[in-house]
């Protein structure tokens, strides 16, 4: 093996190992926690299946992030197109709802059941929210035991909203971890020429607080400046320090002074 090939192989291996490691370290504990919480909440709801669907892209599509129950493995990463079915409605409207007899007619969005071979009969779906944004949907399907299943009660609907609060926090953490993972994957890849403008555009689409987004955007900008060379770094540091000095001396009593 030539020296160049060996170097390439080494670099690629390093990239691969680091990427895998980062992926596991960041997201796996979170998805595990979501799954545990799903299991505990499903037991409290006397439900057989529970799942978390998260946004997939900007058009309102959903995909299963986590699921427990008989067909959990088949559900993972399955997609639900925008506006389809009960989950699609809950995502776009923000209103929780329960349907007692889903399987009664053919009009139910049954692609998920077709794929998994499961028969959804009664369902409760409630939105997952973070900072006022709907980031996904929490669903409980069917009851423990044999059909016919009792419909979900209003009290259970209220309980589901409480579980959704806890799960939303984890889903948001998962989204942040996934974001960092993507950023790291891009950075670790030596072949990749970082397009900072593209990264900034991508950050702008993030569903998080405006303040958080702005800070991330600023961080990317700094990184771009830093990559331009020693002179640019030096100038940037001086500029930033002078902004801080200006900020320290500025009186905060008047909103109108500049």
């Amino acid at each position: 093996m030539s020296e160049t090939n060996e170097k390439n192989l080494q670099a690629n291996l390093k990239f691969l190992i680091e990427t895998i490691d980062v992926a596991n370290v960041l997201t796996e504990p979170i998805t595990k926690s979501i799954e545990n919480l799903l299991r505990i909440s499903a037991a409290a709801m006397n439900s057989e299946e529970a799942s978390v669907l998260i946004r997939d892209g900007d058009e309102g599509d959903l995909r299963f992030l986590s699921a427990i129950g008989k067909v959990a493995d088949k559900l993972l990463n399955l997609k639900v197109p925008a506006g389809k079915g009960i989950a699609g409605f809950v995502l776009s409207s923000g209103q929780p709802m329960a349907v007692a007899d889903v399987g009664e007619e053919i009009a139910f969005y049954d692609e998920v059941d077709k794929t998994t071979g499961y028969s959804t009969q009664t369902i409760l779906a409630t939105p997952l929210r973070h900072n006022g944004e709907i980031i996904g949907v929490l669903e409980y399907v069917n009851r423990v035991g044999e059909p016919p299943f009792e419909s979900f009660t209003p009290a259970e609907m209220d309980n589901a909203a409480v579980f959704a609060e806890a799960i939303s926090t984890l889903v948001n953490a998962y989204e942040s971890a996934k974001l960092l993972r993507k950023l790291d994957t891009k950075t670790l890849n030596e072949e990749f020429k970082t397009e900072y403008a593209e990264v900034r555009r991508w950050l702008a689409t993030l569903r998080d607080s405006a303040e958080h987004r702005e800070m991330l955007d600023l961080a990317v900008l700094l990184r771009e400046v830093a990559s331009r060379g020693v002179g640019e770094r030096q100038l940037c540091r001086e500029l930033l320090e002078s902004i801080l000095r200006f900020s320290d001396t500025k009186t905060e009593t008047s909103l109108l002074s500049f």
Binding site: G83, D101, A107
Partner: protein
């Protein structure tokens, strides 16, 4: 906030504000009702001939416009709401404004545009079984609801049973907000004076129209809201010039009557029990 019956300003309200039951025999004839939702399946057996117009939100450059809609209902929810309205007010004129399930439109944005469209068209009653918790929509929604109030449009919104308040159902002064109850009789709705969400109406296992000419048993505040919309359509047929304030007052008077009737029935039940 706790139930506020004790703090009502006038416990004898219904003694001097009497509403007879004639409105219960009406059909909502000639009253325009807008359903801002996921569209309506106009071919459903329960809705045939009742949907006067269907429009849907579309993006035109940076603005949202409403074009005639032929895509029906993608989620079933709008059809379910229209089914409930049509059951209570079978001759009401229902207008479908589709803002959900239209691809590419941001959450809330189309919903706000739909509300503005309905107000511009001056539909008398507007069914809003949707909500948002996004703070940036607080001010524009508030403004729109004030415009609705001043234009005489009666906006009825479903409450959101979430730990945090959702808009617009918390704007109790300029709209009528509804939460579900386990009651089954649509006429037997309640009014919680002093609560943020004032009206209660059937919303548990409500059987109504669904996609594919079907029916579903549905639970949610979304399905309590159209019950009150249907009732308002009957009241407006009876007195077409009622303002939003007057409609709310009438709802309050009827709910008080319902409560008093219930109290009498409960007393009778108790007095009929064998003495211990």
């Amino acid at each position: 906030m706790s139930a506020a019956n004790d703090s009502e300003p006038n416990p004898n309200f219904s003694n001097f504000f009497q509403i007879d039951d004639d409105w219960k025999t009406l059909t909502g004839k000639g009253v325009s009702v807008a359903v801002i939702d996921s569209g309506i399946d106009a071919d459903h057996p329960n809705l045939q001939g009742k949907i006067k117009e269907s429009v849907e939100a579309q993006r035109n450059d940076k603005r949202i416009v409403f074009e005639p809609s032929t895509s029906g209902d993608s989620a079933g929810h709008g059809t379910a709401c229209a089914g409930i309205i049509a059951r209570i007010a079978p001759e009401a004129e229902i207008y479908s404004i589709k803002v959900l399930g239209a691809g590419g439109l941001g959450d809330g944005q189309a919903f706000l545009a739909g509300l503005e469209y309905a107000i511009k068209k001056r539909y008398r009653v507007i069914n809003l079984s949707l909500g948002t918790t996004k703070p940036q929509f607080f001010a524009p929604l508030h403004d729109l609801l004030d415009r609705a109030y001043q234009s005489g449009c009666i906006v009825v919104a479903a409450a959101n049973n979430l730990p945090q308040p959702s808009f617009p159902s918390v704007f109790s002064s300029s709209l009528i907000s509804v939460i579900k109850s386990a009651e089954t009789d649509p006429y037997n709705f309640g009014f919680h004076y002093g609560e943020i969400i004032e009206l209660t109406a059937p919303g548990v296992n409500v059987r109504t129209a669904w996609l594919g000419n079907g029916y579903r048993n549905l639970t949610g505040n979304s399905f309590a809201c159209p019950h009150i919309v249907g009732i308002i359509a009957l009241l407006l047929e009876s007195c077409p010039d009622l303002t939003p304030f007057q409609v709310k007052t009438a709802l309050y008077a009827i709910a008080r009557k319902n409560q008093e009737k219930q109290a009498v029935e409960n007393r009778e039940k108790t007095s009929n029990l064998p003495k211990m």
